[in-house]
Amino acid sequence: MVTVAALGVDLGRTPVLRGLDLVVGAGEVVGILGPNGSGKSTLLRVLSTLLPPTTGGGAVLGARLNSAAVHGVRPSIGLVGHESGLHPRLTLLENLRYLAVLTGRPEEQAREALDVAGLTRAAGRRAEQCSQGMRRRADLARILVTEPSLLLLDEPHAALDRSSFGLVDLVVQRVRARDGGVVIVSHDSPRLESLADRLLELDAGRLVPVGSGMVAGGPRW
């Protein structure tokens, strides 16, 4: 699913990731912990092929990063990031239908996904009129529409109430059941432990097994 080696990313002149190695196998869920600003979201953008690495390289779903082949695998990658992928002026149902049509899925899948996400009654509401938690649930519902082979989740539990945590589990399990790979980044260690097969920690731009790293730059209180 994912094989990257000696990956480095600079944002402007600031090095964010350095010499990072990561392998994610089929059906595997990898959890990555790290404090704010450690580069977790940047790593997901690289794995999603939207941000090319500065140094190093690897492959995602068989396509080499930094090559034109990444365009071909993008529809098989699902990303739920900090920022919602929904257009604020479209309703939740319109957003998901739009995605379904663009990716060649049946439009009915949009309504089904919203039903699963518990958003049936909010389907006709514009994304800008929904709470952050509802938008997050609709973003997770996007994954149910596109059924990606590689799922990338950035703080998936953020803004969700406890009763919605099960939706994250469901989305992860569906991808895993199709032998897809999942990478979840978070600073919520207990939630990650319950979902991931393997936990890693982002420490000074590198990935290390949890417990072995000394996460630098954290607050002193």
Partner: protein, 227 residues
């Protein structure tokens, strides 16, 4: 594993255009903000010049096209202004080629621009009472201006996306490039009024529009990946 058959880029472009038009219809920025502002701009000139009917009639269509150009740029740039990086990421991961997305957006912009031109035209006629000889060419000129301006505006909007000063940088980029469109629009009607053939000026408009569309489609991917 379920593999969906991706629709053709043409179908994807059509869907993008449809979504953009729905977003515009819902926001109503062009109808309720930019068009009245354009009408006010048309009104200011007669107020400044005074009740000099022959002068106003002489500059009427020229003023109309100047306002279409300047405010039309705002129409084309409004799309990228409301883009969030999350939504853009979603579209890129949906496998929609950058050129298909750009084409869909530009097509939607052209439709909105045509509406904008149509709404402003009666205002210009009422205020300036211009000579409308050769008015039958007007729909063709309006269509070519909308198509060309939409392509150039969408291209500029993509180029300046993410820049802090994009609201002023965008028009600065588009206006010089759209000059042949403005000249073509005014000169086509002038040519007909003076009994000359308008084809040369129509050709200027067609060429500018074609270059705008080609530049937009060919550069879309490179611009997006380097952003």
């Amino acid at each position: 594993m379920v593999t969906a058959l991706a629709p053709s880029p043409l179908r994807q472009a059509r869907e993008v255009a449809r979504a953009e038009l729905r977003i515009e219809a819902r926001g109503g920025e062009v109808l309720w903000i930019i068009t009245p502002f354009g009408a006010v701009a048309l009104l200011l000139v007669p107020m400044a010049v005074g009740p000099d009917r022959p002068l106003l009639a002489g500059i009427g269509m020229g003023m109309y096209w100047v306002v279409v150009l300047l405010f039309g740029v705002l129409v084309t740039l409004r799309q990228t202004a409301s883009d969030s990086s999350g939504h853009l990421a979603m579209l890129r991961l949906a496998g929609v080629p950058a050129a298909a997305r750009a084409a869909g957006r530009a097509a939607a912009s052209a439709v909105v621009l045509l509406l904008f031109e149509t709404l402003l035209l009666p205002v210009a006629i009422a205020l300036y009472q211009p000579d409308l000889t050769g008015w039958t060419w007007l729909p063709v000129v309006m269509l070519l201006t909308a198509a060309g301006l939409a392509a150039l505006g969408t291209l500029a909007g993509t180029l300046v996306h993410g820049f802090a000063g994009r609201s002023s940088l965008g028009p600065v980029l588009v206006c010089p490039l759209a000059l042949p469109l403005l000249l073509g629009a005014t000169e086509t009607l002038q040519a007909v009024a003076y009994g000359r053939t308008p084809w040369l000026w129509l050709l200027v408009q067609i060429t500018t529009s074609a270059i705008g569309w080609l530049a937009l489609l060919l550069s879309a991917n490179a611009v997006e990946e380097s952003a």
